[in-house]
């Protein structure tokens, strides 16, 4: 049984305590909601970049470049953005669980709602142009862009495997031109069929064969498309030191 003096002892302890003001709890709730919504926005932005990268991938040319569909998907899947999306979805989940009524919803409902809202806003952000803007901005500023953020660029950065991407900086004659390889920051002399018309400063992708350290024989020449535009802008072909690190070149 309870001690008869329980109430008195309790009152003695409570005497020095104060009721915590309502604003303290409101602030805590706002903090949880604010970070939840912020994470949801970041997750949606990640989704908009994923949507942008997937939409503008060269689905029509993978067979021409000697890859099966599954290995091509595996190679160019935007893992970085998928991880980013998952990371923010986990934060949203924990924020949701910490709201006053978040515990009432089971894991699968929160995850499903989270995915749906991220997709909805992700598509909206994509159509506003955020997906492209983020990809362009990171391409210009982030050093490991082609290796980590947009692996589709890295896929084309394998001269020894017959794939090359870069910008045309000089046309030597109707069968050859000079290309800046944006991944390795290096100049290449490209030999090609005279029927292909090449324009200066045009970002292009090539398949073919590396026949010397700086000579590449092109078989297929394709426009670079929209992906990695920031990277092309960063290494626009001017003031380029062949084979050297060009971190300072804009």
């Amino acid at each position: 049984m309870l001690n008869e003096k329980f109430d008195q002892e309790l009152l003695g302890k409570i005497k020095d305590k104060k009721i915590i003001p309502r604003w303290h709890f409101l602030f805590k709730d706002c903090f949880v909601w604010f970070f939840g919504i912020l994470s949801l926005i970041f997750g949606s932005l990640s989704f908009s970049v994923i949507f942008y990268l997937v939409k503008h991938n060269e689905w029509d040319v993978y067979s021409q470049i000697g890859e099966s569909f599954s290995s091509f998907v595996f190679l160019v899947l935007p893992y970085f953005w998928i991880l980013f999306l998952v990371f923010f979805m986990i934060i949203v989940y924990f924020n949701m669980k910490n709201t006053k009524k978040g515990y009432r919803y089971p894991l699968h409902v929160i995850v499903f709602m989270n995915i749906m809202v991220s997709m909805l806003f992700g598509v909206l952000f994509f159509y506003i142009g955020f997906g492209q803007a983020i990809d362009d901005a990171l391409g210009e500023r982030v050093p490991f862009y082609s290796e980590v953020i947009n692996r589709r660029m890295n896929f084309w950065c394998q001269a020894e495997k017959g794939k090359l991407v870069g910008t045309v900086i000089e046309i030597k004659n109707e069968n050859s031109f000079v290309l800046i390889d944006v991944c390795h920051k290096k100049e290449w002399i490209i030999e090609h069929d005279a029927s292909v018309k090449i324009k200066i400063e045009k970002p292009i992708r090539l398949t073919g064969e590396m026949i010397a350290d700086d000579i590449f024989k092109a078989e297929i020449i394709l426009p670079a498309g929209r992906l990695g535009r920031g990277l092309f802008r960063k290494y626009n072909g001017r003031n380029f030191n062949n084979g050297k690190d060009c971190e300072n070149i804009k």
């Binding site: 329980f6 009152l11 305590k17 009721i19 303290h24 709890f25 515990y103 919803y105 089971p106």
Partner: protein, 192 residues
């Protein structure tokens, strides 16, 4: 100050409003809940009466300090049970121990209800059933024990249990169902 009769007519939520205006009414909340919570603490832990009393004091201090956090969408009883549950769990975390069933402290009617609920096939009298249930419950995982105690001993419905333990109602239902199966299996295997 309102008279005891007037206070007794008021709901928990109305009393909370009164306490927020005048903290002197807090003792009325204590009077309403101290015995229920004391029994609940003893049921979900193996604490002595003295330790349970200390926990109960902590519970009421937390309730008092956090009254502004009480959400009117909840039943006050769910909220105060939640604080009690969390305080007991926190205490065990501090001691790095696990809560154990001490004594189910059931009256005969409750024992009959539980015996029917578990649909025991063996012939077993109520005293034996209580002993066996104590033994079997102590073997169960805490997450199953707590729902069984809240459902069958504290007589809380699924929504209240969900609000107390902060898990979805579907999870409450599945835990109760699994706990009942485990208990029934254990009860049937036990030597009587």
């Amino acid at each position: 100050m309102l008279s005891i009769e007037d206070l007794n007519k008021k709901t928990d939520n109305e009393i909370v409003e009164l306490v927020l205006e005048n903290s002197g009414y807090f003792l009325h909340i204590v009077e309403r809940y101290k015995f229920k919570l004391f029994v609940y603490i003893r049921r979900i832990s193996n604490m002595s009466a003295e330790d349970a009393e200390d926990i109960l004091q902590d519970v009421f201090i937390k309730v008092y300090q956090n009254l502004n956090d009480f959400d009117n969408d909840l039943k006050f009883s769910s909220w105060i049970y939640r604080i009690t549950h969390n305080t007991v769990i926190d205490n065990f975390r501090k001691l790095k121990a696990r809560p154990q069933i001490f004594d189910l402290d059931m009256d005969d009617d409750r024992i009959k209800v539980l015996a029917n609920e578990f649909d025991i096939e063996k012939e077993i009298d109520e005293k034996q059933f209580k002993e066996v249930l104590n033994k079997v419950l102590s073997k169960l995982d805490v997450k199953f024990k707590e729902v069984i105690i809240l459902k069958f001993l504290e007589e809380k419905d699924y929504k209240e249990i969900s609000d107390i333990i902060k898990i979805p109602q579907g999870t409450v239902a599945s835990r109760i169902s699994k706990a009942k199966k485990l208990l029934k299996k254990e009860l049937e295997n036990i030597e009587i």
